[in-house]
Symmetry: C2
Subunit: 243 residues, 2 copies
């Protein structure tokens, strides 16, 4: 029987991306704690667009433009010289509406440049706050998909894997999934059983430990909340904009 | 409280190995279907030693030595020019006792050379047929451990992850494990609930599908059998020998 479904793969860490074909493919960038949750939230609350950049210096430079907020973190903390951090809770409508956000993060922006180098067909960003928007878009498009986890300095992490699992779970009947990483992600998401926060806490997820050590439990809870910022960030000519 | 336990990490695919320190560390090479299961079985059944090599040509050349069997696979099938394949069931005592086995495989030998390049402290091989031998050795040694999965052409696979999970499960109280890949492996092993074969079959593991497509279900069942070849293969000066 000929399979006519589009193909879905999960890439659990950026260094594995070159093993997969990204052209003519939708690449979903996943950095649950906290870059892609922040991106969805800022756009949902009316930011004009987001400029993801790979260096703090470039971010500071972009801050010279009018109506531009600079933000970013290194190793989970506000990077020196930037105005704001990577907490989605900072980006309320009052603060971010009609502004431009220049953002640099430890892992997410690195993965984005890898995807660009590989000539990705379309790049979008995914997080629990915009889960359904991502699922609906992938369903409508009916094209091949790579779920690309930003991980932590190359090492696989649980929270990005769980988000990939949520997508696999929603799309499993619409895509051909001959990919152990996708199946593993789906099983782990199933095991979390709807309580992602408790799952990360009790399983001693490494980034949960890192962020909760900084007193960021409220951030983590928000980043695990489904559909609270229901919007689709799409990358176009250097900018993430709301579709 | 100071942690004095040794550290354990799981590396789900060879390309992530450079992210970890391998020196002064025991690296466990894991290639469940089927290289490390075959290695344990051949040594358990009395092979003098095994020479892992990275090319078919080199394997054929070693076959000129007396009492040497050449074996290996590429993409799951016997490689052209070699006498035997990578099925552990071929290596009965009648056949392999007192012989030397020159072995080349798709993924396992590649991972071994990476570990050597990284100056690994000690290299051993692990598989379900020698699970307890590995657990006992790691317990006694009380040194840092990397569980290194051979994967499939760089892509993460379920069966190697499950074996890593079995080790993590056995050693979790003796090691410091701040490693999401280890926790994920352990959860998946827990979910398999003692029936690894059914787990791989029903979860549509990609390598299960590949091998069962070649009629190798009996091989897969053997490779998932715990402690049927209870021996510890250790790498020393180009050879895998029984400790």
């Amino acid at each position: 029987m000929k399979e006519n479904k589009p193909v879905l793969h999960t890439v659990l860490t950026p260094s594995l991306l070159p093993l997969y074909n990204a052209s003519d493919t939708i690449v979903v960038i996943i950095d649950v704690l906290r870059a892609t949750s922040t991106i969805a939230t800022a756009l949902y609350n009316g930011a004009k667009y987001i400029i993801p950049v790979d260096s703090v210096a470039k971010c500071i430079e972009l801050g010279q433009m009018p109506d531009t907020v600079t933000a970013g973190e290194r190793d989970g903390r506000v990077a020196e010289g930037l105005q704001h951090g990577n907490s989605p809770l900072e980006y309320t409508r009052d603060f971010i509406e009609n502004k431009i956000l220049a953002l640099t993060t430890t892992n997410g922006t690195h993965l984005l440049s890898l995807a660009l180098n590989q000539d990705a067909g379309t790049i979008i960003t995914g997080s629990f706050p915009n889960l359904s928007a991502v699922v609906n878009y992938l369903t409508e498009q009916n094209r091949d998909v790579l779920l690309a986890c930003a991980a932590w300095k190359g090492r696989i992490n649980l929270e990005d894997t769980l988000f990939a699992g949520a997508i696999v779970n929603a799309l499993q009947n619409r895509f051909e999934i001959n990919c152990d990483a996708s199946r593993m992600a789906q099983m782990l998401y199933g095991e979390a059983g709807g309580n992602l926060f408790e799952f990360l806490r009790t399983r001693e997820a490494s980034h949960y430990r890192r962020l909760s050590g900084y007193g960021l439990e409220e951030d983590i809870r928000y980043c695990l909340s489904v559909d609270v910022a229901s919007i689709l960030p799409v990358y176009r000519e250097g900018k993430l904009i709301a579709e």
